[in-house]
């Protein structure tokens, strides 16, 4: 069992360092188990310039996910993916960048807060992002995460009033996930009007890196949002390519385009 740590987590240290060195962050999302070679996808994406990777743990009822991520989750569950299996696979692999598990609270709750935190840590996962866990309900997990040395990424939304934004960023670790628009995950033609505003509002309360996600589909959008934000989370656009069978190389090519657009 790891010791409880009060210090900065590994992912946050790493992302702050990159940000402070003037780089923009690329955080791709891959659904664990969605294709047999998903570990290779993580490795390829890391090599292509990802600064961290969100690893989706599939859940039967993914409230905030759009059709593409839902389909990936369904595919993964159809391949009998389990929490245990995913974490075991990650434990046995060398990815090369910090990993943040993205999943829904029931998988955490059902496993048990401490057991879940410990499992993440043992598998080398740095952080967790649990979108249906608001700060009001955060305490039990936050305590276990702190105990287990796992960082907790939190989201701020365009609808969050400033007081909530402040309360959220004060508890966030690793980076702040700024939701670009009201709505679910999925590709969008244009950046929402809210995207830049929410980043600016988050910035007022924290010097954590701020990555924008939900609907970032193209390197151009990423570049645009990174005039204000520190980085982007890229989900559906990448996952769709994997669903289309593009494999590790295709994923790497796609992430490389973001890396290129945002500079080294």
């Amino acid at each position: 069992m790891p010791e409880v740590t009060g210090e900065l987590g590994a992912m946050e240290r790493s992302l702050r360092a990159r940000r402070d060195a003037g780089s923009k962050l690329v955080v791709p999302y891959v659904m664990a188990g969605m294709v047999p070679e998903w570990i290779e996808v993580l490795q390829a994406v890391a090599s292509a310039g990802a600064d961290a990777i969100e690893v989706g743990l599939p859940f039967s009822d993914p409230m905030i996910d759009g059709p593409v991520i839902q389909a990936a989750g369904l595919a993964s569950l159809g391949r009998a993916t389990t929490v245990h299996g995913v974490l075991d696979a990650l434990a046995g692999a060398e990815i090369g960048v910090p990993l943040v598990v993205m999943t829904y609270y029931n998988l955490v709750f059902r496993t048990g807060h401490r057991r879940f935190a410990a499992s993440l840590r043992e598998s080398g996962v740095a952080a967790a992002l649990i979108p249906d866990l608001s700060i009001e309900e955060l305490d039990p997990w936050a305590a276990a995460a702190a105990w287990g040395g796992v960082e907790t990424v939190l989201m701020v939304a365009p609808s969050s009033p400033q007081a909530r934004v402040a309360a959220i960023v004060a508890r966030a670790q690793g980076f702040v996930y700024a939701v670009a628009r009201m709505g679910v995950t999925g590709e969008r033609r244009a950046l929402g009007a809210d995207a830049l505003a929410v980043v600016r509002r988050a910035r007022e309360g924290t010097d954590l890196p701020i990555c924008v996600g939900i609907g970032i589909s193209t390197p151009e959008q990423a570049a645009e949002v990174c005039e204000v934000a520190d980085g982007v989370a890229v989900g559906s656009a990448l996952v769709r390519r994997l669903l289309d069978g593009e494999g590790p190389e295709g994923a790497a090519r796609f992430v490389a385009r973001f890396r290129e657009a945002l500079g080294p």
């Binding site: 009822d61 409230m63 059902r110 979108p131 939304a157």
Partner: protein, 387 residues
């Protein structure tokens, strides 16, 4: 049954497990509901619509012939006589009033078999609100007539093709739509489920069932019945009924479908924004409930039921499809009332336990949450298949 406070807790259950995008909407809704519910004018308006439009109070009917057969005294709270044919109307009128009060021009709703969808479309038509109803693709095919009904009422029915393409996924999709449109849209959730304040608010809107029934039992029996029974899908008709009797000595019994008995077979978990008892696997993946009654096919129960069960104030039982079909026919034959399959679950338990777990001579109130017209075609096929 009290106020679950600002965090919406019923003991260990309830809460608000939604994406940050929705948290402000939930908080806003709670404020709006609390203000409205403290306003006598809102109550007056709510009750007046339920009376002059919805047909309230619904009567309590004494079942003479079936009582004789069972050796108990059986009373039915007749929600089947409410406009649109079930208790669902109470909730949608309350939420439509609230939608208007919040100045939102649009309501969305989820539906399984279509009852709550039809009720929502009805309330939206009455108030001149836009309405979109989310319904799993499997259900839109099974219940094409209800789709047409909602369209007649001016609602848009959106087919949900994600997940199992049934109720559970319709809830997810409605929540997703709410995230995207929360500015001008209220989510009119159909049971005592979901994030706070829904379980509290829907209970309060359904409380009228129990309040009326309590007074009616007082007049008929001179007090509360020995046993109060209601079916439990999400649990709104049951909680509404129980709320009238929780402070009496009456046994409170919720009856689920054996194929979807979240109160009995479920374990604590979080889905659709609430912590409650859920049907789920070892990993925490939510399982689908499966019975002959679409309205009870919910993988979870309302958090207050989980709490009432935990503290022992209410008991939860279940009935099999076969028992339910027997109860359905028995009520039709002996009393001329064709019940919805949902409350037929409650009756099935009563029939099975009269003279056993329900001592002979007991007075028993069952909330007949809806009428069976919607189920007649299905029962016809089931009985034909069984022959």
């Amino acid at each position: 049954m009290g106020d679950p406070g600002p965090t919406g807790r019923f003991g260990d259950f309830g809460g608000r497990y939604v994406p940050e995008s929705l948290m402000p909407a939930c908080l806003e809704l709670e404020v709006a509901f609390r203000e409205a519910w403290a306003d006598p004018e809102f109550h007056r308006h709510f009750e007046s619509i339920l009376a002059t439009y919805g047909g309230r109070p619904t009567p309590v009917t004494e079942c003479h012939r079936l009582s004789d057969r069972l050796g108990i005294r059986l009373l039915l709270k007749r929600e089947d006589l409410a406009h649109t044919g079930s208790h669902k109307l109470n909730n949608v009128i309350g939420q439509a009033l609230l939608t208007e009060r919040m100045g939102k021009p649009r309501m969305i709703a989820e539906t399984g078999a279509g009852q709550h969808g039809v009720a929502s479309a009805t309330a939206a038509a009455l108030f001149g609100l836009e309405c979109t109803v989310f319904m799993g693709e499997v259900d839109t095919q099974r219940q094409a007539l209800n789709v047409f009904r909602m369209e007649l009422l001016g609602a848009e029915v959106r087919t949900v093709t994600s997940g199992s393409r049934t109720l559970k996924d319709a809830v997810n999709e409605a929540l997703r739509e709410w995230v995207a449109t929360v500015e001008d849209t209220h989510y009119c959730l159909g049971s005592v489920m979901g994030p706070h304040p829904f379980p509290y608010m829907v209970r309060e809107f359904q409380r009228i069932v129990g309040t009326e029934a309590r007074a009616q039992c007082e007049a008929l029996l001179g007090g509360a019945p020995d046993v109060v029974v209601a079916c439990v899908g999400g649990g709104s008709n049951a909680i509404g009924t129980f709320s009238g009797f929780v402070d009496t000595g009456a046994r409170l019994v919720g009856v689920e479908a054996a194929g979807g008995a979240a109160a009995t077979n479920g374990v604590p978990g979080v889905v659709h924004g609430m912590k409650s008892r859920l049907l789920q696997d070892e990993d925490g993946q939510i399982l689908e409930a499966l019975s002959i009654s679409a309205g009870l096919d919910s993988p979870g129960i309302g958090p207050e039921h989980a709490h009432l069960g935990a503290i022992g104030r209410a008991e939860y039982r279940s009935a099999t499809d076969e028992e339910v079909l027997g109860a359905f026919s028995a009520l039709a034959e002996t009393e001329g009332i064709i019940p919805a399959l949902e409350p037929a679950h409650g009756l099935a338990w009563i029939i099975a336990e009269a003279g056993r777990d329900i001592p002979a001579g007991s007075s028993v109130l069952l909330t007949l949450s809806g009428r069976g017209d919607k189920d007649v075609a299905q029962v016809r096929e089931l009985l034909a298949g069984g022959r």
